[in-house]
């Protein structure tokens, strides 16, 4: 018989951003080989499945016993140990054996045993306890009810004092708080009680309703709203168009991050005096929700306008001294000190007058009321104020974008001035923190140095800046940046890890150069000669290593070269320029192969041997300016 399965973990409201992770874990729930279908609202995590067996099959096995030669006493002992009557033990050849049938178990029993532990084993970013003291069960929020059904039976278990059953709850306000369900009618009963279980459907409902109200759909916000509602309904509200004189960045920040509203645009990048809010209810018949949200937004915008006006009383350029009171980091001094360092660094990096001016002003917005209230707008507010206060456009733009890139996906500053200020700011943070021992360890990175380093790498590569890495960082910091360089080229740019290793192994001058060399490797990689040649280079490396040959400048005595494969190889690689394209280097392959086929390096004649080692070393060095080919993983490596 095959049965349907339903598990609903009823909780108090789970933080929206944790739900997808929990569902991914639940989809792997062990349900006697049936595939789990998962979904959730803020108040319920749900697993459904079909075609579960009602029991596991009986299992027949043959248990081998002692040899017949060990006598009947041994047979009795064997029977006792297996817990069977001695008459069941049979002779088979020279051994006793037992044909045993382990009966299958009822699926409901197996699930009743496994589910509680599986539920409590879900991993969450932060958990709480709420009953049974500090040794009590931990979960993301209190579990208040559990529906667990297999076919028409309740799978009986208990977690945190809550017994499983067949009774669910509807929407907090619009639904019943006690709804008996079956596996068949579960979702439709929920719907009758104003719960749309399907997150896909909720997302779609929000998106289509909000779009009809001209909302500019923001993907992150859409996801958030999908998981903070059980029955989402979009409504539109309005605000006084006088607020549109505030910058769109500020208005959008207030709407999106503080109030979780979609902005409405009258034309691309032109805000209209409306917003779209998503309620967790079915409608707003009296317009109370709309007017309530409008009032809240008005107060928020008033605050923003108040901050804007207050901030204009003191121009950015006059806020330098205030920065002395804002600590950057205890051991690294104030933001004024940091600013001075950034300015110097921008000069060192060859930044123009606009870049230097931007560097001088870039942190001044930290003392504004606007940034104190809307911290995510740091930099952006500075840029807006700079523009308002008559700074040149390039200066304002550089301030505006100097925190970019904020993530691997974020773009780098558009202007050269912005790129250089951003680079200087991040580099100063990195140098400073490393100099006082604030180095990220494991998952601990309180100053977000990985992000800063990633930003440095991204800017250097994508802006094609040709600073030498050695000029920017030394020692531990240089190593840290190298890790981020590896990470960047692998994860963001998709180069293979061995290619990245091969290129970095021979050194890093500028990142532009690293990128060029990587491209060459990636281009030549699929050609037939490349990997075999790389394998040969690796062999050469091993030969040199085994011979402890370290004379990097040994000359080759051509008189000692044997005519044939040895001389051929010498002549072929000598005729090739060190800077030859890699495809041409790869063409050495047949000659190299022939060499190893016919020539013995470790011969008795020490002069010849030394000369051969010198030649191999010379060839290796000559073609190792692009990459260390011995780092390339070839098919031969994988086999070994």
């Amino acid at each position: 018989m095959s049965l349907d399965f339903l598990l609903e973990i009823g909780t108090e409201e789970i933080p929206h951003w944790m739900i997808p992770g929990a569902l991914a874990q639940l989809s792997k729930l062990d349900l006697l080989s049936a595939a789990a279908r998962v979904d959730a609202t803020p108040r319920r995590l749900v697993v459904e499945a079909s075609n579960l067996p009602d029991r596991t099959p009986d299992r027949a096995e043959i248990v081998k016993g002692p040899p017949v030669s060990s006598g009947e006493k041994a047979a009795l002992g064997f029977a006792k140990k297996q817990g069977v009557d001695p008459s069941q033990v049979k002779q088979a050849g020279n051994y006793y054996e037992l044909h045993k049938t382990t009966p299958g178990r009822l699926a409901i029993d197996i699930l009743a045993e496994s589910l509680p532990a599986a539920i409590l084993a879900l991993q969450w970013p932060k958990t709480m306890y709420w009953t049974g003291g500090k040794t009590g069960p931990r979960f993301i929020r209190p579990i208040r009810w559990i529906v667990a059904l297999l076919g028409d039976q309740v799978i009986p278990f208990e977690i945190a004092g809550v017994k499983s059953g067949n009774v669910t709850r509807g929407h907090r306000i619009l639904g019943s708080s006690s709804i008996p369900v079956t596996t068949a009618n579960y979702q439709s009963e929920l719907r009758k009680n104003f719960v749309i279980l399907s997150s896909h459907e909720r997302r779609h409902k929000i998106e289509s309703e909000a779009s009809k109200l001209d909302a500019k759909i923001d993907a992150d916000l859409l996801e958030t709203l999908t998981f903070i509602t059980e029955f989402p309904t979009a409504i539109r509200g309005n605000f006084d168009s006088a607020y549109l004189e505030l910058p769109a960045e500020v208005l959008t920040e207030v709407m999106r991050h503080h109030q979780k509203y979609f902005a409405v645009e009258s034309a691309p990048n032109r805000l209209a005096p409306h917003f779209v809010a998503v309620m967790n209810t079915s409608g707003d018949p009296d317009g109370l929700v709309q007017s309530g949200n409008e009032k809240v937004l008005r107060a928020r915008f008033n605050d923003a306008r108040f901050f804007w006006n207050v901030d204009q009383h003191k121009k950015l350029i006059h806020r330098g001294d205030d920065l002395a009171k804002v600590t950057f980091q205890a051991k690294l001094g104030s933001y004024l000190e940091k600013t001075n360092r950034i300015v110097e660094l921008v000069k060192e990096l060859g930044g123009n007058a606009h870049a230097q001016r931007a560097a001088e002003l870039c942190k001044c917005d930290l003392t504004t009321e606007m940034v104190k209230e809307f911290t995510d707008l740091q930099g952006i507010v500075g840029g807006l104020y700079a523009k308002e206060q008559g700074e040149p456009k390039a200066v304002a733009q550089a301030i505006y974008e100097h925190y970019q890139p904020l993530s691997m996906e974020d773009s780098i500053p558009e202007t050269r001035e912005g790129q250089i200020v951003a680079l200087a700011d991040k580099l100063d943070t990195l140098r400073g923190c490393f100099s006082v021992g604030l180095v990220p360890t494991g998952s601990k990175d309180p100053f977000a140095l990985r992000r800063a380093a990633q930003g440095v790498v991204k800017i250097l590569v994508e802006a094609k800046l040709d600073y030498y890495l050695d000029q920017l960082a030394t020692g531990e910091l240089r190593e840290f940046l190298t890790e981020r360089i590896q990470h960047y080229f692998r994860e963001v740019r998709g180069f293979k890890y061995d290619e990245v290793n091969a290129v970095l192994k021979v050194g890093i001058s500028t990142l532009k150069d690293v990128e060029d060399r990587l491209r060459q490797i990636a281009d030549v990689r699929p050609t037939p000669n490349f990997e075999p040649l790389a394998a040969s280079f690796k062999r050469i490396n091993n030969i040199l290593k085994q011979a402890a040959f370290a004379d990097d400048h040994a000359a080759v005595d051509t008189a000692l070269l044997e005519p044939g494969p040895e001389k051929d190889l010498y002549e072929e690689y000598s005729s090739l320029a060190a800077s030859a394209p890699l495809t041409q280097v790869a063409d050495l392959r047949p000659t190299v192969d022939k060499y190893f086929d016919k020539v013995m390096v470790n011969v008795d004649d020490q002069n010849v041997r030394r000369n051969r080692l010198s030649m191999l070393s010379q060839m290796l060095r000559k073609f190792s300016t692009i990459a260390d080919f011995s780092e390339i993983v070839t098919s031969g490596d994988q086999k070994s």
């Binding site: 108090e12 306890y129 709420w130 306000i173 309530g292 008033n302």
Partner: protein, 293 residues
């Protein structure tokens, strides 16, 4: 339409009907109802407790000279502690909103993640901000730790922002226009308070003296903390008075902060000083309760 005091009285009644002791505000300045001994100390240990009280909460840095319609130097919180938290605590909370006249079927209510943490008290909890039509009206927290001590019985703390809720119910745009009592506006009762304390907190409080006072209260607190161990009759030991010294320090810290007298660097250090006192006092309270049990 209910006046502010009507709403407060209804809430008190609601929780009294559900077994809470209705306490009066604590008489030492605090930044939040959580800091009152009725919460901070009573949540420790294994004794169940239910209490509700209005607590005027002073946040010197939030003062706006009475000019901002939504920001106050001192606002009123209705603080409810249910220890341990009942299973239907959120339903009870929603019931309290209905009791003050909010028809939830006509409004949008959401529980949005907002975990509370007080570094100065060594306390944290898990919970939500409760949003009513986009307005935060309540902070709901399941306490997990207080004074650095893991709690035995997890209490639910419900903190109602009374001015916000009452402004919402009365439909006024400025808190100062809200009716406190029939014919008496919030401004009549509290505006002078807001203006004068903003002046004092931002302009006139003597910074050197505040630092000295902080040092004095800290010294008093430390001296008391050090005496508990050798004190013969534990039940007589003034843990509660020791805790008052912690509150004094915390308030002085807030004042210095509003005055712009604490740099970001110093901040961490001062917070730690106050936390050490809070943690020390919580420990003594727990010891004293055990000794009495």
């Amino acid at each position: 339409m209910d006046s502010y005091q009507d709403t407060v009285l209804k809430l008190k009644h609601y929780w009294a009907d559900r077994g809470a002791i209705i306490q009066e505000p604590y008489d030492v300045e605090v930044g939040a109802g959580t800091m009152c001994p009725e919460t901070f100390l009573r949540v420790l240990g294994k004794k169940p407790y239910k209490v509700a009280y209005v607590q005027p909460s002073r946040r010197p840095a939030d003062g706006r000279y009475g000019e901002n319609p939504n920001r106050l130097y001192k606002h009123q919180q209705l603080q409810v502690i249910l220890k341990p938290s009942p299973n239907d605590v959120l339903e009870q909370y929603l019931g309290s909103l209905a009791a003050i006249g909010i028809d939830l079927s006509k409004h949008d209510i959401k529980f949005e993640e907002d975990n509370w943490e007080s570094p100065t008290l060594g306390a944290w909890g898990i919970g939500w901000q409760v949003m009513l039509d986009g307005l935060e009206i309540t902070q709901f927290t399941y306490f997990q730790q207080c004074g650095g001590i893991d709690l035995d019985l997890v209490p639910a703390e419900i903190t109602y922002g009374l001015e916000r809720i009452s402004s919402f119910l009365q439909g006024v745009n400025s808190v100062y226009d809200m009716q406190w009592a029939p014919g008496v506006k919030y401004a009549d009762v509290r505006l002078a308070d807001e203006l004068q304390f903003s002046v004092y907190n931002f302009e006139m409080a003597n910074i050197d003296r505040l630092w000295r006072l902080l040092g004095e209260h800290e010294a008093e607190c430390k001296e008391l903390l050090a005496q508990y161990e050798k004190y013969p009759d534990k039940s007589r030991f003034p843990v509660l008075a020791t805790y008052d010294q912690v509150l004094k320090c915390s308030q002085l810290f807030n004042l210095l902060d509003a005055r712009g007298a604490i740099s970001v660097t110093e901040r961490v250090g001062v917070i730690k000083r106050v936390r050490d006192l809070a943690v020390g006092t919580a420990r003594l309270w727990a010891l004293q309760q055990e000794a009495a049990a």
